[in-house]
Amino acid sequence: GGTVLGVAGEDFAVIASDTRLSEYYSIHARDVPKLFRLSPQMVLGCAGFHGDVLTLTKEMNMATQIYEYEHGRTISCPATAEMLSKKLYYRRFFPFYTYNVLVGLDAEGKGAVYGFDPIGSFERETFRASGSAASLLQPLLDNQIGYNNQPNAKREPLSMDKAVALVREVFSCAAERDIHTGDGVVISVITKDGIKESFHPLRAD
C-alpha cells in the first residue's frame, strides 16, 4: 500500500509519499509516511509490502552508516542507487515487495531521482511516481513536467514552488480516485542546505 513520488529540479529535489497504511479494504494506520532519511541530502521513498519496506530501509540505513565509517565521508546519491539495486537483486528469487524511489543531489549539486522496480532495475529520471497510485500520477507529471502532448507550450525550468504545488495537487487528485491513497501527504524538499519536511492533510474516506 501507499504511493511515492520524486521530482528533480535544477538545484533541488522533492520527494513525497502518502501516509495511509491499508490492507484490502481496511485502514491499518493513517500516519505512516513512506519516506526514510538516509543522509542529510538523501531520502528513500519506499512503498509496497510494509514488512519488506521496514526491513529494506533498516538494511539501507545500516549500509550507509557502515560506508561512512569505512570511507570517512557520506555516501553519494548515485552510489546509494547502485547499492540499493544490488540489495534488491540479491533477493531476485524471493524479492523485496517494494517500489522504491531514491532522491537526492548528484555530485554537481543538481537534483537526482532514481526509480527502481522490486528486483533492482533502476534508471535516473527527472520524475517518477511509484506505488498504488503510480498509474494516476505518472501521466500527469509526464504532461506537466515532461511537456508530453504539449508541443507548442513554452518550456520553463521547474521552480521549487511549482514543483511542491504540483506534487500537492497530484496527490490530492490521486486521493480522489484511488481508494488506497489518502489521509495525508508528507513532502521532503532537498537542497544543498538540507531537508525540509512538510505535511498536508488529504481526504480520509
Binding site: 484490502y24 481496511s26 485502514i27 508541443p151 511549482k162 500537492r168 480516485r177 484511488d178 488506497h180 492533510p201
Partner: protein
C-alpha cells in the same frame, strides 16, 4: 419412458449452459472477462418510532479505482418504499428498476398502495432463480398500511427481518455503530443521526465506501429523500490550477471532405 435425446430434456428448471461456455472461454489463454463495477459501499437502515430511515454512502469503485464519487445508491421502488443497493452496480440498478415497474403495474391492477412484503417476495424470488449470479445485496425499507418494515436481501435470495441492518463492504463498520447506540422506538432526529454516523463510520474506515451520506426517511405521511444529507469528505483546497493556452495541441494535418452526393428529401 425416458427421453433418449439428452438436449431436449432441458425444459423447465434452471439452464446454466452459459456457465460451461464461460468456463471454456476463461480457460483459454489471454482472455479475461471485464470486471463489473461494484459499489463497495456502506448501506444501512433502522426502524424508528414513526417509520424507517435508510442511509447509503456515494462511492462506486471499479477494482481499486473510484469510478463514481457521487452515485445514488438509494433506489425508488414505490412512493412509500425505497431500497438501498450494494454489490454489483448494474445488478442493483436493474433489479430494483424491474421490481419497481412490477410494483407499479401491481398498484394499477389492485388499486392499492404497494406493500413492502410484495417487493420483498418479488426480489427474493428473482434472485433465487439466478442462484446468486445476480450480485445484489439490498436493504429494503418502507411503510405500508400495516406499519414500517425493514428487510435485508442477499444475492442468493434469502432475506432477514430486523430492526436495524447494514450491508456492503462497510457493513461491519456501520453495524458496530448500530450495536452500540440503537434502541427501539427512537425519535426521528435521533434515528437520522444514528444512520448518518453509521454510514460515516463506513466512509472513513472502509476503503470501498466514501464521499457523502444520502438518507431516505419514510413515514406514513411522507417520504423524504435527502441527497446529500452530510458531505462527510470533501476534496479540500486545490494547490494549483492547470491551464492550457489555445494552440497547445499541435494540429499536424487537416483535411476537408465535401459530401457531394447527399440527397435531401422532404416528406
Amino acid at each position: 419412458m425416458e427421453s433418449l435425446d439428452g438436449e431436449e430434456a432441458h425444459r423447465g428448471g434452471f439452464s446454466f449452459e452459459n456457465v460451461h461456455r464461460n468456463a471454456f472461454i476463461s480457460g483459454r489463454a489471454n482472455v479475461s472477462f471485464p470486471k463489473p463495477m461494484k459499489t463497495g459501499t456502506t448501506i444501512a437502515g433502522v426502524v424508528f418510532k414513526d417509520g424507517i430511515v435508510l442511509g447509503a454512502d456515494t462511492r462506486a469503485t471499479s477494482g481499486s479505482i473510484v469510478a463514481d464519487k457521487n452515485c445514488a445508491k438509494i433506489h425508488y421502488m414505490a412512493p412509500n418504499i425505497y431500497c438501498c443497493g450494494a454489490g454489483t452496480a448494474a445488478d442493483t440498478e436493474n433489479v430494483t428498476d424491474m421490481v419497481s415497474s412490477q410494483l407499479q403495474l401491481h398498484r394499477l391492477s389492485t388499486g392499492r398502495d404497494s406493500r413492502v412484503i410484495t417487493a420483498l417476495r418479488m426480489l427474493t424470488q428473482h434472485l433465487f432463480r439466478y442462484q446468486g449470479h445476480i450480485g445484489a445485496a439490498l436493504v429494503l425499507g418502507g411503510v405500508d398500511f400495516s406499519g414500517p418494515h425493514l428487510y435485508c436481501v442477499y444475492p442468493h435470495g434469502s432475506s432477514s427481518i430486523l430492526p436495524f441492518v447494514t450491508m456492503g463492504s462497510g457493513s461491519l463498520a456501520a453495524m458496530s455503530v448500530f450495536e452500540d447506540r440503537f434502541r427501539p422506538g427512537m425519535e426521528r432526529e435521533e434515528a437520522m443521526e444514528l444512520v448518518k454516523d453509521a454510514i460515516r463510520s463506513g466512509i472513513f474506515n472502509d476503503l470501498g465506501s466514501g464521499s457523502s451520506v444520502d438518507l431516505c426517511v419514510i413515514t406514513r405521511e411522507k417520504t423524504e429523500y435527502i441527497r446529500p444529507h452530510d458531505v462527510a469528505s470533501e476534496r479540500g483546497e486545490k494547490a494549483m490550477q492547470f491551464s492550457y493556452q489555445p494552440g497547445t495541441t499541435a494540429v499536424l494535418s487537416e483535411s476537408r471532405v465535401t459530401l457531394d452526393d447527399v440527397i435531401v428529401q422532404t416528406v
